[in-house]
Subunit: 149 residues, 2 copies
DNA sequence: TAAAGTGTAATGTCAATGGTTACAAAACAT
DNA sequence: ATGTTTTGTAACCATTGACATTACACTTTA
């Protein structure tokens, strides 16, 4: 299976907040326009990001999103964890009931667990290296370049 | 989301074939017993592995599974690719229609694509390093150790 | 107090995963 | 040839997660 679009949407949200906060009130409706998904979907993601302590959301007129951590301290991994509701944080879904009376069945878990977590770790390390700051830098650069044409 | 249990089941299958081929006819029913899933589910996975050219399956009495490549040439990645039907092979599901009239919306794809594929590559490299041979070695060792107690 | 926004419940659709039954087709042993 | 074993597959079903959508209560501020 794929990592859900909530992940890329979340990054999109951070980018919009940063790019537009000076000139617009960045609400779930506003974001909905840029991202092209229903505002409620956005709000659900905002809540997950709030629960993870990455942002704060205010209601009412002039309300909106405040990022709670320095952008270069928010990694892809933080967002992934906030937004992806994976069972126990396990990337791999192990088949549940191997037969304990079979020598392979009763050992397969012990044999594989380490290997699988190596793979998961490789992915997570790579995610930790990337931050929102990188994305925003690169986005701003592209937007500037567009203007010059 | 998680990588489906088909992946760990496939590895379980290879291990059983290797461990039991001398003494048993390793059929989908036999495997069903060790893995504890329905034989049809096993057969579906066997077909995916066949399509990937990793094994051959024979029908009828005495039929069963033949592994078509050296065990140390079958990596976790090969199995992952065979068994996990991911859209385009993309690990991340990008939200489909960012608004092209928004500066962020029309650039987000270009900005993120490279980063996401870095992450996916990290995971895949790590998967390529692990082979069925490793698993079987480790499984046989454990089974031996069990006998000595 | 009205307007602007978020929080959240309820509902619906869609796709993927897995389970299960059933049976045809193949391969082999006798 | 015939029966037996085993795979290939179709046809269901249930469950789950993802997203979309409507609706409305609750907050906050002007």
């Amino acid at each position: 299976m794929q990592i859900s679009s909530r992940f890329t949407i979340a990054i999109h949200i951070f980018t919009c907040v940063e790019v537009f906060k000076e000139n617009y009130s960045v609400t779930s409706d506003f974001l909905s326009g840029s991202i092209n998904v229903n505002p409620v979907v956005i709000r659900r993601i905002l809540q997950q990001l709030t629960s993870a302590g990455l942002i704060e959301v205010k209601r009412g007129k002039g309300g909106g999103i405040t990022v709670k951590k320095p952008l270069d301290k928010i990694s892809f991994y933080d967002i992934y964890k906030a937004v992806e509701c994976v069972d126990n944080g396990e990337l791999f879904h192990f088949h549940d009931n191997p037969n304990p009376e079979c020598p392979v069945g009763r050992n397969i878990h012990a044999v594989l667990d380490g290997e699988l977590s190596d793979i998961q770790t490789a992915m997570e390390i790579s995610m930790r290296k990337k931050t929102i700051a990188d994305v925003i830098k690169s986005a701003k650069k592209r937007i500037e370049e567009e203007k010059q044409k």
